[in-house]
Symmetry: C2
Subunit: 175 residues, 2 copies
């Protein structure tokens, strides 16, 4: 199945900059069969877990995050860049290669003790998803699974999630 | 049902600027019951139409856009701001109150003659969704439905979609 998904993912060289091979999921989701199978595979992995909320990271994380929440019959919570969420927020900053970035979540979007599945499309160095886990825990949630479409194993991001169940549909060992 | 959805939507005064009452769907989607019912209502409206592709507008349009595509068993296509889509794109500019903006879609993401459902969370003046329709038609698609969670009827955006079937879960007659 992983090879099938890989065939449906487009490889775009030199995006967003020279030397980077971008793994483009838009071709995977444009095709109704691979789109359905991707959603089913993510759901199959999670369906026996007790999950109260799915959290998706802006913006590609909203696609399968929303679908997973719908299939698992849970609420869906957004993590976004600063200034995008209209009501009171909690925030979490994290280091990037150059500089830092911040994520926000609405206060009270997660109930204390909620079991949370976090979804994003891509696990690269893991900085964003790690900050998202910290933010969910700050809000009182318990992260029970971290879910991705793609993992770039050569970047070692998984090391940031040693205490979590990590699932991804496909992984790449090298650029 | 509309009143139920309205109760689940949070009203945030003065966002994103003074004098604007922001209709916040995050509370609607955080609650598993209203989230499920919203998805079901959108699906019920569309399930008898022949639809080949669902197109969602970045980024809140990805949430129910993706779910609709999954439920309708179609492919899902992204419309995004310039520079976000990695492969070759078609683009469409449109006027805003001050200045202009541009949307992009991947070339070949829509097959000529594809029947398309366009989804975004909000119909305000309709500029963005109208540009998205133009972009879909430029790509060879046929827009058969334009779908929103919220319509702000007092802004008259619906007039830009006279030739289309427009559906929204809730509408507001005034600020």
């Amino acid at each position: 199945m992983e090879n099938y998904f890989k065939k449906m993912i487009r490889n775009v060289p030199d995006f967003p900059k020279k030397g980077i091979m971008f793994r483009d999921i838009t071709t995977l989701i444009e095709d109704k069969e691979s789109f359905r199978k991707s959603a089913d595979a993510l759901y199959e992995f999670s369906k026996k877990m007790k999950i109260d909320k799915v959290v998706g990271i802006d913006s590609r994380g909203f696609i399968f995050g929303g679908i997973l929440a719908n299939k698992l019959d849970t609420g869906f919570v957004l993590i976004r860049k600063p200034g995008k969420l209209p009501a009171e927020t909690l925030s979490q900053s994290y280091m990037l290669e150059y500089g830092e970035d911040t994520l926000e979540i609405h206060k009270n979007s997660i109930n204390p003790g909620d079991k949370v599945l976090l979804h994003d499309d891509l696990l690269a160095t893991g900085g964003t998803a790690r900050a998202a886990c910290d933010l969910i825990e700050k809000a009182g949630g318990i992260v029970v699974q971290v879910s991705f479409i793609i993992e770039l194993t050569f970047l070692g991001g998984k090391n940031k999630f040693k205490d979590y169940i990590v699932n991804s549909l496909v992984s790449y060992d090298s650029e």
